[in-house]
Amino acid sequence: METELRNAIRKLLEEKTVDVAIGYGRVGVNGAVGATFVTNPDDVDRLVWNNECRQNLATHLTRAEIKKLGKPAIVVKACDARAVVVLCNEAQIKREDVYVIGVVCDGIETADAAGNKTGALMGKCLSCVEHAAKNVDLLIGDEAAAKALDEKNAPNAKSVGHYEKLAKLRAMSQKERFEYWREQFSKCIRCHACRQNCPLCYCNRCVADKNRPTRIDTSSSLKGNFAWNILRAFHLAGRCVGCGACAAACPAGIELDLLNLTLANAAEDQFGYVSGKELGELPLIGTYSPTDKEEFIR
């Protein structure tokens, strides 16, 4: 699939359909995979495709430094593709301004603290039922194999990986859960890697960075960290596509995506809403319906 990807991008660059290709390359220490930006058709051999392509490259589409490079092509997995759709639906980019190359993905491996592969799939991949990206301009890879993987995961998609972890968490008592997150958030150093690596956290001045008034403390104190993590998760309610970039980037190893999964589940169960499925979809919180449930309201 790698050669197919390289040839496709070489053609795009040669024909000037795009000015820069945002893909994966062995750019980190010991050949760790990260984002690479190819503008010259001869450099396409820097691009790779394997199950270490962990990052969600859509986060670069809204960055000023990358916009300066001109019209982008972007390599996406299915979960990343949904983030591109949400960016379009939220009018951050125009769909025709980005050439989306989907690659069939058979699951991404987690990395240990040194960036080496652990052999285990990411939580989201265990319950993934959409291995072939949608809303793309070009799809590379065997769609049939993707379908087979979808069907293999479908039966217990909602009871493995992060869903399993969340279920275990929700089964705890309220006090135990509070203690669990107290311990997790005590590790948070407020480096905001979760925010900066999230494709949908594109605000140029985050509300946590504002000080007139200071809505939440910028300190990495316990109360500051609770306020920050609650605010970050809620500002992604009905938007997060579950790509796991936040938890993968957290230096303290906090399982932030469980908070987002809670909101994604609530959006799906109560409003039948899954973000990033089709272009033109209205945002969940931006709309309402007279029949929304309200049994918790006095």
């Binding site: 309220q174 509070f178 609770f226 609650i230 809670t262 109560q270 309402y288 309200e294 918790f296 006095r298």
Partner: protein, 149 residues
């Protein structure tokens, strides 16, 4: 039921109420003019609409020592801004799920619709919240968390 008659060391809960300016605030006012007494533990904050209730305000309320939080506004359809409360309802539903996962005590977070004519409902609800919170005692978990910050 007057706060002074209680012995001074008994726990007096602090309740923060975010109320909408067009309905619930007037409902509270009506309770006052009708001599419907409600406990003084409640601190009323007036906002244009429940749609304006930003969710870190609720977290901030617990940070500064609230033992329970009430968010109340116009009934669906009565909103002065036509859809503020509809948006709020959908957000409250999602936010309660998030608070539940984080382990914040949902028995201390109340949402309600109180119209300008429902002074009695306001008094009944506030009294109920104060009594229940007094029973539950102070929100120790969050106070400990803030103390350690």
């Amino acid at each position: 039921m007057n706060a002074e008659t209680k012995s001074t060391d008994a726990f007096e809960p602090k309740i923060v109420a975010f109320v909408c300016n067009w309905c619930t605030y007037l409902g509270a006012d009506l309770a006052g003019t009708n001599r419907l007494e409600y406990p003084a533990n409640i601190r009323i904050l007036r906002l244009p609409c429940t749609g304006r209730v930003d969710f870190n305000l609720i977290v901030k309320a617990f940070e500064i020592g609230a033992d329970a939080v009430l968010v109340s506004g116009c009934h669906p359809g009565d909103c002065h801004y036509t859809a503020g409360n509809f948006h709020a309802r959908r957000r409250w539903d999602l936010f309660r799920e998030l608070l539940d996962t984080v382990g914040i005590d949902l028995n201390r977070v109340y949402f309600s619709w109180i119209s300008a004519a429902e002074g009695a409902k306001f008094q009944k609800l506030v009294t109920e919240i104060v009594d229940k919170t007094r029973e539950m005692g102070p929100y120790e978990d969050y106070k400990k968390l803030v103390a350690e910050s």
